[in-house]
Every structure is written in C-alpha cells, then in structure tokens.
Symmetry: C2
Subunit: 242 residues, 2 copies
Amino acid sequence: MDALRKDIHNSDVPLVCRSCEARHGGVCGALTTEQLSELSRFTSRKTINTGAELHGQGEPVRSYANILRGVVKLTKMMPDGRQQIVGLQFAPDFIGRPFSSESALSAEAATDTEVCALPKAALDRMANNSPDLERRLHNQALIELDEARDWMLTLGRKTAREKVASFLYLIATHIDPDKAEVLQFELPLTRQDIGDFLGLTIETVSRQMTKLRQEKIIHVENNRNVTVHNLATLAEVAGVDR
Amino acid sequence: MDALRKDIHNSDVPLVCRSCEARHGGVCGALTTEQLSELSRFTSRKTINTGAELHGQGEPVRSYANILRGVVKLTKMMPDGRQQIVGLQFAPDFIGRPFSSESALSAEAATDTEVCALPKAALDRMANNSPDLERRLHNQALIELDEARDWMLTLGRKTAREKVASFLYLIATHIDPDKAEVLQFELPLTRQDIGDFLGLTIETVSRQMTKLRQEKIIHVENNRNVTVHNLATLAEVAGVDR
DNA sequence: TTTCCTCCTTGATTTCGATCAAGAACGACG
DNA sequence: CGTCGTTCTTGATCGAAATCAAGGAGGAAA
C-alpha cells in the first residue's frame, strides 16, 4: 500500500502543471505536454487559511485541487452537530470526487494551506482521453479506500489510548511527503479536531496525551510540537503492525 | 451517490460473462463480445458456504470475483483478535483490489454465497485495454470509499441505538439488488458479525434490538427475519438523512 | 428422546470515556 | 499593563456500553 503511495508521489514524470510548479507529483504527472499547457490555462494557485472551507457538505463541486502545502480535513456532520473527520489529506494529495458533482462531505483547511485548483470539467475531459490520468485517479481512490478501512478498525475497536497513539503515528508517517516517517512535527490539528478524527472528546484526547507524555513515549511543547522518542513503541501502543 | 450505484447495476449493457449468466451487471458489462468470450474461458462459478473465506488477511490475491448471490463481509483483525468488518458486499458487487496483489483484509462469506471468479491477471490485462472497464472499477472504488466514509461517521459518533438502526437501515436498502429498499428481510449476519460491523459487543446489539422490538419499530422472528414497520422512522432513529 | 452445541437474550456489576466544572496558559488587542 | 477570548488541562461525577454470569431456544446427531 505504501509502495503504491510512493508510486504516485515519487513518480519520475518530470512534468507538472505550471501553476503548481516543480515539486509535487499529484495527478498532473500523468499528463502530456500539450495537456499540461492546456490545463495550466485554467489552473490557479490558492492560499486557504486555517479553518476556511474548500467546499461544504452537500454543495456542488466546481473544482479539484492538488495540495501543495498544508493539511486538509474531510469531515461529515450530523444534523445535530456531531462531527467526524473521515480523512486527512497531505501534500501532494489530490482532492476531489470524480464522476460526481456533489460531495457528501466538506473539505476544510486544518492548517494554512496552498492548493493548485483545477476546474472539474477540464480535468474530467482530460481523464476521458488519458488512460494514464484515469489510472492515477483510480489509484488515489484505492489508496484512500485502504486508509478509510484502516481507520474504521481504529474507530470501531481501539481504546482511547490506542486511538491517540494511532493518530500520532499517522501524523509521524504522513506529515512530511519527503520522508517515510519523522520523529518531530507540529500537530496540524487542534484537540477538537483530533477528537473529531478519533471519535473522542477533547478531554479524553488531552488526558491520553498527558499519559503518553508522563510515560515518556512522547514529548510535547506548546501543545503543538510533538517529539516521538521511539516510533516502534508508539506503533505498539497504537496496535499497528508496521 | 445512490444514483451512481444504480448507474452501474442497472446499466443497459446486455452482455455479461458466460459463467455468470444473464442477471448481474458487475464489471463484465463493460467488456466487448470478444473480451467476454476470452474472459469466460477463465472464469468459474463458485459456491462458498457461510463462514468460508474467499481469501485471508495478508494473503496474496489470485482472483477477483463478482457476487451473484449472498453477502460477503470484508474484515480486519488485530493481532489480539479484535475484529472489525470494514465493508459488506452484496450482489452484484465486485470484490478485489486492483493494482495490488496483497490484500490488507480478509473476505468471508456471511451467508451461503455464489460468485463468478475471474483470474486477476486476465482482468488486469483487459482493464489496460478497456477504458470503459477501468472506469467501472474506478467507479466501484469511489462508491466503496463513500460507503466507508459514511460508516466512519457511524462508528465514531453514533450511539449503540443509532448504530443498530443504521445497520438495519443499511440492510433494508442493500439486500435486494432489484429494489431500492425493502421492509422485510433475513439478516445476513449473526449478532457477533453485527457487533463486529458496529464496533459493539453482541450483548449490546441484542439489547438494542430488543428495545427496537419493544418500541414496535421492528418485528423479529426466529432471530433472523426482520420486518421494518416504517423505514422513515428507522432512518430517523439511525440519524440518517434519506 | 436425550445430549450437545451454537446462538441469542437477560440480569448484575464494572469500567472507560463522556459530561460537568473550574482554572491555567497563551495570544490579541485596547 | 490588564482584559478578553480561545485552547488546553485537570478534577469530580455520571452514564452508556463492556464485562461477567446464567440461562433459554433451536438444530443436529446419537
């Protein structure tokens, strides 16, 4: 699964759409030179501040986006306000739902975020003519499906302690697109967001973080900067087989 | 989302692979006559008894399958035995994970099941040459992703009562491929399975079922045959917006 | 029939996480 | 500087679901 992820991200296709510039792989790597130059007439780079929505639950979707920097949370909300984060997207992930113009979830910037926005119609048209592009979108969907199912096990069967450890482990292995795992990072989510991701209250998240701190499994500074002393230990607490 | 589901299932493409015979849409509907006749040299119809595995967690995957009849549960298990059902597949769903020969989950027949097995290599080869087929697989992945994320909300944020109602609602709307919803059905899962799908114990499932029965929201016969008196009421208890 | 066996229900008790409540830490702003 | 407002932590209490325990219902096989 992680092999596949790398396959997309570290693809050796040198081309990317102009608005996005050199660094990210995203889905644009699958396009031909002509397609890219056509597409880049429509793409636009956007900065989204923490808390701002890319689009709301139930709204029609106008565009796709490649994340260049930052973290985007995908959330579902019940009529009474209960909320669940159903996915976290990191650079250089692709955001969007092919074949459907309406989204059953809302996408919100968890941190200050930069994206490259692609008009939906333009990319859909290209996907119809580029099997390689469709293949990439398909692959991204399958990776997200694997991740969603992994998380279902966390939500349904893990304890609060295991959930918090699972979250920290997830961040450590996803926050930096250049490294497979990292021992020090800034939490991209508030305690409330972490609770909404784990199906817990902020108090429970806080208490479990405190415990992990007391047990010297993590170190926390300013509530945001986390150091993991030993990733294998964290994985063990999380109940994850690495 | 359900519109898309219909799109696959009720497709007007008349062709299906020979082993599977007339009724199901599956992914075969996307194939040309030649592809079908080539494929049907390799396909085989199989009967899988309740409880038998199509394949186990971590095992390499040899084949795809179209479900002709029955219900298949996709499960993940932790080293200590805790289990979570991460997906239920009904006829005529497609089972398999394109682009990966190893599965992170196990697929097990929840009821007596009939499938049409397709050798993975043969279908992969065809998908490379048939954009329409790839499109169908892609679409199925996206539908499963939507369903997985819906369920994450259920697992993370709903009460036991809402979870059980959500499960019954899911079965009522999925058990019969010919109808959008149905008020009477045989439960395809044991209490243990329902618990593993909802992240609950069998005792809690049983108590909530008893309550729903006492409140005349459902009627249950022989522990298996359920009648839903009013689907809208059930949906409301489940916290689902229909 | 009787004996298992599996699956399900029900009751008693415990426990983990939610809820309620208070205060600490930090930054923004007058 | 002090005063908000927000976010996080900690403590006390509550409650929903888990756990522990017992027994019932139905089916298969002797």
